[in-house]
């Protein structure tokens, strides 16, 4: 027999009534997301976003000077300062993370973006970038992030940072 005879074994099962029988279990834990502000303008936004309740997301700004000595001879590490005030390193924070989100409003963080992109490539960590255009020509900022972010959102709306994190269950 090649024809389904029960509603739940054919495409007609896509009804509101049949939806009652979909397996309903708690959603798996959220992704380990690390959000890094690459410049001063981005830092202001990231600090505001960090005040909201999040599941596992952690929020950082790049310390100055940004780049530490290349710890493994290949990829530069980045000094980070969490929005809670503790110091850390990119190499430490990426352990256990599966998304690194870079937030930029200028191209000041180009080197940090490269270091984050390289480190994520090495670890198989997904990268995303949010460019806060704010009505300005964001071309240089976009160019700085493009090679290092698999997904890049260029926006006039700083709320997009929290929108993305919410959608990702961060």
């Amino acid at each position: 027999m090649n024809r389904p005879i029960l509603l739940n074994s054919c495409a007609r099962a896509a009804t509101s009534a049949e939806a009652r029988f979909r397996i309903n279990v708690p959603i798996a834990p959220s992704r380990g997301t690390r959000v890094v502000a690459l410049d001063a303008g981005a830092e202001r936004v990231v600090r505001r976003v960090a005040e909201q309740p999040w599941a596992t997301a952690r929020f950082f700004v790049c310390k100055s000077p940004t780049l530490l000595a290349q710890s493994n001879g290949e990829v530069a590490d980045v000094g980070l300062l969490s929005t809670h005030g503790f110091e850390s390193r990119l190499s430490l924070e990426l352990a256990g993370a599966d998304v690194a989100m870079m937030v930029a409003s200028t191209d000041d963080g180009a080197y940090a973006a490269r270091a984050i992109g390289d480190a994520c490539t090495l670890r198989g960590t997904m990268t995303a970038g949010v460019v806060l255009a704010g009505g300005r020509d964001a071309g240089e900022t976009v160019s700085a992030l493009r090679p290092h972010a698999r997904v890049l959102l260029v926006t006039y709306d700083e709320q997009d940072v929290s929108e993305l994190l919410t959608a990702l269950r961060a």
Partner: protein, 428 residues
Amino acid sequence: MLRRELNELLTQTGPGTPMGELFRQYWIPALLAEELPENDCPPVRVKLLSERLIAFRDSEGRYGLIDEFCAHRGASLWFGRNEEGGLRCSYHGWKYDVTGQCVEVPSEPDNGTFCATVKLTSYPLVKVGDILWAYLGDPAKRPGLPEFEFVHVPSEQTYTSKRWQESNWLQALEGGIDSSHVTWLHSGALKTDPLFKGAKGNQYNIGDLKPFFEVAEADGGLFVGARRNAEDGKYYWRITPWIMPSFTMVPPRGDHPVHGHFWVPIDDENCWVYTFDYHPVRALTPAELQAMKAGFGVHSENIPGTYRPVQNKDNDYLMDREAQKRGEHYSGVRGIAIQDASLQESMGPIVDRTKERLVPADSGIIKARQKLRKAAIALRDEGVTPPGVDPAHHRVRSAAIVLPRAESFLESCGDAVTVIPGTPQTSV
């Protein structure tokens, strides 16, 4: 992931709902012009945004879109007679013109004034291109007519079809914004579909299965760029415009016609998918037209005399597991349109977005939802006209282009994604 109340806000389009009011700011496709082919032709039942209406074309060629039900006893005017400048209810002979005004009540005296007090709700219905467009909003805020390029090129350069999709409009639209599924679901079509195959760009698609994405704001909505590696250190970009609320275009391939969609809510669990193909500078060839009518490209083969696809829920979309094994169709379902429809309908009439596990590659969808939500709330709370109402926002194109790596797709493609009449599409 969306909270339940936001999912309801975005998916409910009936009268009085925030998203319903948003849709009522725009001209939206109501019928294909072919559905009312001549004066005094049979009327057509139309359900739009959860309102049951009847469309007809009177003896003078005027189009009408009015409440489906007679004001007298509530009988459907679909059974009516379209004659002598109006639609007459078959039950007791009440007659209405294209504005919904009752012009005759046979049981009343010949010179009576009663019928002047009877008027059905009506909406303007206007032919632009191959589509009859309706405006269901406040007459005082009626915008200029649509200026999408596909309805303004000469008729021999454009073709539009439509099909019924058994799902909420939003999950259908999201398929049009989501470029990443093309690499998988539609991979077979790039090699075989007569309206896709042969383009150089297809090689880039097939050769790079992990595209990068860029999402950028546009006056009327968004541009979503998908970039893949090309030769000599360059990127191959495919740029998809979305104009609010529900218009998208697919990036072109070679000299094939350009295509796109309008997703129009019928009610909260069904939508119409209007699908167009056009070429900006040349007539469609007989072979191209034949392919479109046969359901190739992004069109569907419909049951004759209807707009329901031959492949539908009732027959499991004619799933062909052997073709799936051969790699002919990635999902085993034939045709790009029905590949999309089968999966979008399988989600259920209104997908439960509280259970999603979105990933960064879904940023286009995430941003589109945010823009829709903000526009609906700004309209409701402050009366702000949403993006995409201004006809100037309609003058966009999709594009496919190879660019040096350092160049931004939007800065380098300003002309490519803007309608310049008489110029060909930018395509690879």
